[in-house]
């Protein structure tokens, strides 16, 4: 091996070393513990028994331990509801962020930076505090109901909080920056002469949007969708605060299994299921964007 090639490898090793070590110890380690735990029997008073036990997954997928219970599809229902709420969150954040990205990308450099600052501003405040403010706004005696009652629009207070809608609202509120940044990056990069070329060649505004603008900004939309969907699916803070006891999502369910029910193996099995779904999605994203990525990297 030539000395240049050796040095290059050594440099690469030095640069990637710390992060690899950190991830190996603090990410792969706990993950391995969780995988093992998910196949162990729950202890009678919390903790785990060191015996092979496949019914943690059985409770979710339909082969529950006949010693204790019949199969209950409630976990699958929670799974599906979580998927639905996360998907709606993605759609709603996109609807908010996509047009905004276009507006902001056309501002002057100064206003652009200011708007980007405003979008990241909520990060500087505690997430819990911000969500509790939504409780104040949405609850029965909250701001929205007070205004609507006093102006005579409604006669009785609306049930706003502790609904799927409230959870989605909270999620959208939290995840807007996550959607905005990748969408903005791809919108900002959009070459407007291509839009002009399309109009020039006879395509109206709608067709130009569908054939030129949308495909060229799709990587940003896909990226935003993935990084909103994944944390939304596992989120437990928003449903805990805005969902009350009524609406349960995967995140709360897992939290409950670990902290309240003290059934670590079952909680681990649920977490593994969530991870499988995410891996499938990420894999699909990498395949699709990989193809596009090559296009983008070698284009122009």
């Amino acid at each position: 091996m030539s000395s240049i090639a050796f040095r290059r490898r050594a440099q690469l090793g030095l640069l990637l070393g710390p992060v690899s070590l950190f991830l190996a110890v603090f990410f792969l380690g706990p993950l391995a513990i969780m995988i093992v735990t998910s196949f162990l029997a729950p202890g009678l008073y919390g903790g785990v028994e060191w015996t092979w036990y496949r019914h943690n997954y059985g409770r979710i997928l339909g082969f529950a331990d006949p010693m204790f219970e019949d199969f209950d599809p409630v976990y699958i229902a929670i799974f599906l509801r979580s998927l639905k709420i996360s998907a709606l969150t993605v759609v709603a954040t996109l609807i908010v962020c996509y047009p905004a990205a276009f507006c902001i990308s056309r501002l002057s450099e100064r206003w652009k930076n200011f708007c980007l600052f405003l979008i990241t501003l909520p990060f500087f405040t505690s997430l819990i505090v911000r969500l509790f403010i939504w409780v104040l706004i949405l609850r029965q005696t909250g701001l929205v109901n007070a205004v609507l009652l006093n102006t005579g629009v409604i006669a009785r207070p609306l049930e706003l909080i502790y609904t799927d809608g409230a959870i989605i609202l909270g999620m959208v509120y939290i995840f807007i920056p996550f959607m905005f940044m990748p969408v903005y990056a791809s919108v900002e990069k959009l070459d407007w002469t291509l839009v002009r070329a399309s109009l020039d060649l006879g395509a109206g505004p709608i067709r130009t949007f569908l054939r030129i603008i949308l495909p060229l900004t799709a990587p940003g939309i896909a990226g935003g969708a993935v990084i909103v969907f994944i944390p939304a699916l596992g989120n437990f803070v928003v449903p805990a605060i805005l969902g009350g006891a009524k609406v349960m999502m995967l995140g709360n369910l897992i939290e409950q299994q670990f902290l309240a029910a003290r059934n670590w193996p079952f909680g681990s099995a649920l977490a593994m299921m969530v991870m499988c779904v995410m891996l499938v999605l990420l894999f699909a994203y990498v395949i699709v964007s990989g193809r596009r990525g090559i296009d983008a990297a070698t284009g122009r």
Binding site: R196, A197, L199, D200, L201, R207, G299
Partner: protein, 360 residues
């Protein structure tokens, strides 16, 4: 009246600068482009040529005036409802589409059926010398090939008028010259009028039927390339197109007397009053012994060999700069003056062009 395809009537446009001033990009421009004409808009950057092009394509809205294409008023029509296509400066090929899809775009949008589209794409690509490249992506092509795709894409729907916005400026010199000839040929074959924007005077002279020289939002002169070069209407045109030696003075009976005491002979004996005489560098020649042609004596500051010619940079006794171009075939004479650093530059009075004062 000539068979007109595009007519601009008093087209005006002003822009506001960030500093709060207004800049006149188009100052009540009248322009008439004939069917099957190759017209070039030539001018320095900021002269309004790109604004004029964008006004025709529909991306710039006029403050006043009208634009007619084939006697139809299209002033208020959006770009996608104008029978005009554009070849953009950076080509603007759609990176996510193949060469075939790019080329077919205008037909796809117009709802042309797939089999016919394929035939016409093949035809258009053959015309620009890219047959069989339908499946490639733009990024797999060289700059010259991308340029050709942009051209094929713009002509496939047979627009009444093709606009070309400095399309050759990104190509290297040899390719640019080859493309100039090809564009001219293509324009003849298609029978479509071309409006070509450039700041390169060589390009303008090479390709055009007529050239419009623009400055300050106005057409300074609209004429054939030869007339623009030989008989510029004012000193802006004279200096912008080609190199020039200008002498301002009083014309009296076949002579033009400058304030610094030079006398330039010219053939327009009836012209009197203030005027500017133009002598192109290549009109000068080195007088042999006993030649009686009028001449200027200069001290040589520099002699530059550029291949086919020598460029002589000299100064008259009064300090006026003079440029002359001597064919390289006269290298024995150039050798002599290189020694003496002095030259007698002779010219034919018939080759001197006079610009009357009011135009200058």
């Amino acid at each position: 009246m000539r068979d007109s395809i595009v007519r601009l009537e008093k087209a005006a446009k002003a822009f506001a600068t960030p500093e709060g001033q207004t800049v006149t990009a188009l100052d009540a421009i009248d322009l008439d482009v004939s069917r099957n004409e190759f017209l070039t808009l030539l001018g320095p950057s900021g002269c309004g040529k790109t604004t004029l092009l964008q006004a025709i394509s529909g991306f710039v809205e006029l403050d006043a005036g009208r634009i007619l294409i084939d006697d139809e008023d299209i002033t208020d029509r959006p770009p996608y409802r104008r029978p005009v296509n554009t070849v953009f400066q950076n080509y603007a090929l759609f990176p996510h589409m193949t060469v075939g899809e790019n080329t077919a775009y205008a037909l796809e949008v117009a709802g042309v059926a797939r089999p016919e589209r394929a035939n016409r794409v093949a035809d258009a690509l053959r015309m620009v010398g890219l047959e069989g490249m339908e499946g490639r992506k733009p990024r797999q092509l060289s700059g010259g090939q991308q340029q050709r795709v942009a051209l094929a894409r713009a002509i496939i729907a047979r627009p009444k008028l093709l606009l070309l916005d400095e399309p050759l400026s990104a190509l290297d010199k040899n390719l640019r010259q080859a493309m100039q000839i090809e564009l001219k040929t293509l324009q003849h074959e298609l029978g479509i009028s071309f409006i070509f924007v450039t700041h390169d005077q060589q390009e303008a002279l090479t390709m055009s039927d007529r050239v419009a020289v623009l400055s300050g939002g106005r057409i300074q002169q609209l004429d054939t390339p030869r007339a623009i070069y030989d008989q510029p209407k004012n000193s802006f045109v004279a200096t912008f197109v080609g190199a020039s030696n200008l002498f301002e003075g009083e014309a009296v009976g076949g002579q033009l007397l400058t304030t610094d005491g030079l006398s330039i002979s010219h053939a327009k004996a009836q012209t009197t009053g203030t005027a500017t005489a133009l002598i192109r560098p290549e009109q000068f020649f080195l007088a042999e012994q006993g030649d009686s042609a009028p001449s200027l004596d200069v001290d040589l500051e520099q002699i530059v060999f550029v291949g086919s010619t020598f460029e002589l940079f000299g100064r008259t006794a009064t300090g006026r700069r003079v440029i002359a171009e001597i064919p390289a075939t006269r290298r024995n004479l150039v050798g002599e003056i290189e020694q003496s650093r002095r030259a007698r530059l002779s010219y034919d009075p018939a080759a001197v062009h006079l610009i009357p004062a009011e135009a200058a």
